[in-house]
Amino acid sequence: MSQKLEKLIDKKGLRLDGRKLDELRSIKIEVGALSNADGSAYIQQGKNKILAAVYGPKELHPKHLALPDRMVLRCRYHMAPFSVQERKSPAPSRREIELSKVIREALEPSIFIEYYPRTSIDLFIEVLQADGGTRCASITAASLALADAGIPMRDLVASCAAGKVDDTIVLDLMDTEDKVGTADVPVALMPNLNAITLLQMDGILTLEEFEKAVNLALEGCRKIYTMQKETLKAKYIGVKEVEE
């Protein structure tokens, strides 16, 4: 949110990559990409390329961390050293530690954690290429990985950001818009329950702009939700190539 301004929206109201203001980037989702994980998903959203994998539920070690009445969800959001412009050290940064926490807290409300007391689920997210909005794309993929692992869930979680670019509220900021724009509002939603499970903001917005941004982001989440459901259907109903 800190670089000098350049023109990001042209006279026709189109953005640098030709999108309309309320248009999502092109999204490609795959479920079950990894053979070792209990569940997995891969998402491309713009140039974001992100893998999510789920291991569990399984016994928790060390045992004193286990909870008698619920499962423990653990989450690691991690970026590959080559995923960004300047090589990133593989050691977890403070940003990655914070995002691991907010992503976990965005997904936890969707899981029936009381069904598996004393166990844990490990959720691993690897950003192979980053293009703005990785936390949202990670949540979208991770929720599918949880479903792929057969974890009982209240709803899928779909996630998308809106933001302010050239004084305009737009949907799903890509990298340049994120860096040059003046506000970013990532949101995650369980659409069937109308429950917001992630909300962050940085930048500067009036209350009115904020309301507009939240509403736009929620719309984005609902579109992504449709894609999530189609992906699952394609794998589990259409193709029927399951069973090991």
Binding site: R94, N194, I196, L199, Q200, L205
Partner: protein, 263 residues
């Protein structure tokens, strides 16, 4: 307290909130008593101590000369660090920062950074080479809930209290001169945190409310009433309506709290 007594008390707290009341007598959008003391550590360039009920946070500011980030060669550097020191709570462990202290530091940082509270361009000594680095060290001394609001308030209070040393450049070296100038502060971001309990939003949760809340929402606003940072925490969720309502209350509350700061 035995765990049964704890659970009875927790149930009571939740039931009261459902009726719009709180165990300590506050209304749902009331803060506990707020005390702000600026300039408590003479050795630091700036400092402040905030009491929010029994929650106690100290912030010290240190200023050093260092290198700017490559992408902002004309700007000073802001670094926020938070320590949940183990004397503040039986649940805090010694060791490197955990996810809670990192989140706390980053939420405080975001409020200051996004509101452009510090005029970082005035902290440039030699473009691309030497700038002032402002270290904001948040030190939690007693944890009785709502560390974010107490820390953010102590941070801006300490920044308002900060004096920079004067200097001149002699043959490429920075020479410190006698005297001080205040740190160039433009905005006073204030964080207001809500806990969701019994499907209601309560402001400034104390520790026992935090232990039973479904989720947490922090809204930071600046002097102009704009939102500059938001953070949702905890394993629950909010409705769209609650989020918009919180934004409005946060703006009002921040205006009240801002009056406690000496500028």
């Amino acid at each position: 307290m035995s765990s049964i007594v704890v659970r009875v008390k927790q149930k009571q707290i939740a039931q009261l909130i459902a009726k719009g009341k709180r165990l300590d007598g506050r209304g749902l959008t009331d803060y506990r008593e707020i005390k702000v003391e600026q300039g408590v550590i003479e050795r630091a360039e700036g400092s402040a101590r905030v009491l929010l009920g029994m929650t106690e946070v100290m912030v010290g500011i240190k200023i050093e000369i260092g290198q700017p980030y490559p992408d902002t060669p004309n700007e000073g550097v802001l670094t926020v660090n938070a320590e949940l020191v183990p004397l503040a709570s039986p649940t805090f462990e010694p060791g490197p920062p955990d996810e809670n202290s990192i989140e706390l530091a980053r939420v405080v940082d975001r409020g200051i950074r996004e509101s452009k509270a510090i005029d970082l361009e005035k902290l440039c000594v030699e473009p691309g080479k030497k700038v002032f680095i402002v270290f904001v060290d948040v030190y939690v001394l007693n944890h009785d809930g709502n560390l974010i609001d107490a820390s953010a308030l102590a941070a801006i209070a300490a920044l308002l209290n900060t004096k920079m040393f004067k200097y001149e450049i002699e043959e490429g070296e920075v020479k410190i001169k006698p005297g001080h100038t205040p740190l160039p502060i433009r905005k006073r971001p204030i964080a207001v945190t809500f806990a969701k309990i019994s499907d209601k939003l309560v402001v400034d949760p104390w520790l026992e409310e935090e232990q039973i809340m479904d989720a947490r929402l922090t809204m930071t606003t600046d002097d102009d009433g704009n939102i500059c940072a938001i953070q949702k925490g905890g394993s629950g969720c909010f409705t769209q309506k609650q989020v918009l309502e919180a934004a409005k209350i946060a703006k009002e509350k921040a205006e009240e709290i801002r009056k406690k700061l000496k500028w």
